[in-house]
Symmetry: C2
Subunit: 92 residues, 2 copies
């Protein structure tokens, strides 16, 4: 299920934009939601999809919940693509 949920998470532009924002700094759910013209529950849903896919981590600090990138899954995804990309018969 790892690769499937990761690619599924990446297939939505809203979620890709969230990941792209988190690349610069950790953000609260509210900060993230403000960047979109989408309801908070929908953003919360997207964050949950990313969390289930292991691409983000959340941590509560007081009233806020901070989200941050979890790059370990990216390794798996990139590794799969590189293996696919590099043709088998190529020896180097």
């Amino acid at each position: 299920m790892g690769l499937s949920s990761a690619f599924k998470a990446l297939s939505d532009p809203v979620r890709r934009k969230i990941l792209y924002m988190l690349r610069e700094r950790d953000m609260t759910a509210g900060e993230i939601a403000e960047k979109f013209d989408i309801s908070w529950p929908t953003i919360s849903h997207h964050l949950n999809v990313l969390k289930q896919a292991g691409m983000v981590v959340d941590e509560r600090k007081g009233q806020n919940i901070y989200y941050s990138l979890n790059t370990s899954v990216f390794e798996e995804v990139v590794a799969f693509l590189m293996e696919l990309w590099g043709r088998k018969e190529t020896g180097f």
Copy 2:
């Protein structure tokens, strides 16, 4: 739409397996379908999803239709992931 359809195409294990098989050699739709316990129309549907995403190319040769990998889209996908993966503040 490019990245979304590419990631969506990659989110299905059947389609990932098809891509993985095509890495070794070009195959006809029939050869591909034989590898799965899924109906031919369903495989045809998956091939069409991959084609729409620009990840495979099809070419008719007589009765057969050959499918082959199209790696140009992979560049785009990997580039996006690498940009996401490499943290912004890292200078090297």
